[in-house]
């Protein structure tokens, strides 16, 4: 208990497209905002972890923030970069290595779908050349199979996207702030059926940073600390259905999301029913749909009813992606996981404005999932 770590500062560079600012500049902006929020100077920071996928090394932020000699570790862990940076800072603070730590993620991706190189993934060139190495295809194939196994129709996919853009419209810093009608989503261009244009998020730019310290000292800096009850990262097991898989094992195994989620709940000593505000990886409508159940918030197949009944809306029993998630904010890979944590912190502090979840939520949950089969889960508690 007394080894808990608290978030004392949050900072964001709004996601979207910011011509004229590099990814690193957006990352440095986020760090400055988080330091200001915590009332801490960069020179007081004793450890930092961070990363980006396409915008360079995090320790180069020192050139923008000041060269203080701080141990600054570069993290390269795909979609789990932010979550891994956060887990590492927490471990460093718990070990007594530093009193104050910073976790930062940022990115700036080229427009359009990511184009991976097969060799980087241990695959042969033909897999890419013949047109099968696309993340959008994977999401569609996994979603199609899931909907078949659990009797879910396209309606659920439309409702996930509709809620994301509805919440995005309430979020001042969101990238996509226009609500979309049901038909506009349902009839948008087929990208990879069953997934259509408005059911996918876009690569984007942005930065996100957190300042953390031992929970014992948190009140020195803020009267609204957020305690990190769990920050867990897991990778895939043999048999889980992952992106860029030319073949799948005969016997399926649970996704890394399932193992990360279970470990986080166990560590925090709470269950899905205790959580008042939720962020789930929604690179596409299908992923969020699957993640609701994989994280334990409902049984497989129950999602269609939850979505139709309004349970996942801001005023519902399971408020999901209250800032519009990746669908409304885009996905700067390095920053995305920390944006989720920042949104949950804002909700637990009661600072979420028009999108504030009513009834003072006390516990929040964040989940990222990405290639090649990693997941990071955090459980946060209002201090």
């Amino acid at each position: 208990m007394n080894n808990d770590v608290a978030i004392i500062g949050i900072g964001l560079h709004p996601f979207g497209r910011t011509d004229g600012l590099s990814g690193q500049q957006q990352g440095a902006h986020a760090v400055r905002e988080a330091l200001k929020d915590a009332g801490v100077a960069w020179s007081q920071v004793g450890v930092a972890y961070g990363g980006s996928q396409d915008a360079g090394n995090a320790d180069a932020l020192g050139n923008l923030l000041g060269l203080t000699g701080v141990p600054f570790v570069n993290v390269a862990n795909g979609c789990a970069t932010g979550g891994s940076a956060l887990a590492s800072v927490i471990a460093a603070i718990q070990s007594g290595m530093a009193e104050i730590g910073v976790a930062v993620g940022f990115d700036k991706h080229p427009r359009g779908a990511f184009n991976p190189r097969p060799r980087d993934w241990g695959l042969e060139d033909w897999y890419g050349e013949t047109g099968m190495m696309l993340t959008t295809q994977f999401f569609a194939l996994k979603t199609r199979r899931y909907m078949f196994e659990h009797g879910i129709t396209d309606d659920a996919l439309v409702r996930v996207a509709q809620r994301a853009f509805r919440n995005g419209a309430l979020t001042p810093h969101a990238w996509r702030r226009r609500e979309l009608g049901y038909a506009e989503i349902a009839e948008s261009m087929p990208v990879n059926l069953p997934l259509r244009k408005y059911m996918f998020c876009n690569p984007a730019e942005g930065g996100a940073a957190l300042v953390l310290c031992s929970a014992r000292h948190a009140r020195k800096y803020t009267d609204r600390p957020i305690i990190v009850k769990a920050a867990v990262m897991r990778t895939r097991h043999h048999g889980s259905f992952e992106v860029f898989s030319p073949g799948l094992a005969a016997e399926q195994a649970p996704a890394p999301t399932v193992t990360a989620s279970r470990a986080a709940f166990e560590l925090a000593g709470v269950g899905p029913r205790d959580i008042g505000v939720i962020q789930l990886q929604d690179t596409d409508s299908g992923s969020e749909l699957i993640h609701i159940a994989e994280n334990g918030f409902c049984e497989h197949g129950e999602q269609a009813h939850l979505l139709r009944s309004g349970a996942t809306e801001i005023g519902g029993r399971l408020p999901i992606n209250t800032d519009g998630g990746c669908l409304a904010n885009g996905e700067p890979v390095g920053a995305s996981g920390l944006r989720q944590v920042i949104e949950v912190c804002a909700q637990l502090r009661g600072q979420a404005g028009q999108r504030q979840v009513p009834g003072r939520p006390r516990l929040g949950y964040t989940h990222v999932y990405g290639a090649p089969g990693v997941s990071a889960v955090c459980i946060l508690q209002a201090g």
Partner: protein
Amino acid sequence: MEPNPLPRLACPGVVAGSADRPVLVGSRCTCCGEIYFPAAQGCTRCCASEMTAHELGAEGRLWSWTIQGFQPKAPYAGGEAEHAFQPYGVGYVEMPSGVKVESRLTVADPERLEIGMPMRLTLIAYRQVAGEAPVHTYAFAPAA
């Protein structure tokens, strides 16, 4: 009659047999028996590293499917002009061993694809560029 030899393939290592009767080749762990497509260097199930070649056959059932609706960027090498791009089907086909093989499908019409339908292996020319020999890959077609 001699069987027709295999055409120019993007993926010569995963297809055996003849042009008329292609079969997919993967590998099998000599330690625990787990089967892989494409052939694996090591077993992710039991961590052993001794593998032998294993034929997966040419028939299976459609396990999941999608339609690639836009022209992919590199590393895709279809080579057609943007205006000439035609959406194509992609799916997983469950082979008799239970292994699911990701594959191009010969059909790109959602009305003609259904999970569970029987599929048969074939070869398609995925790259047809003037002045060079067409490049083929394996694909699954609905079994008549």
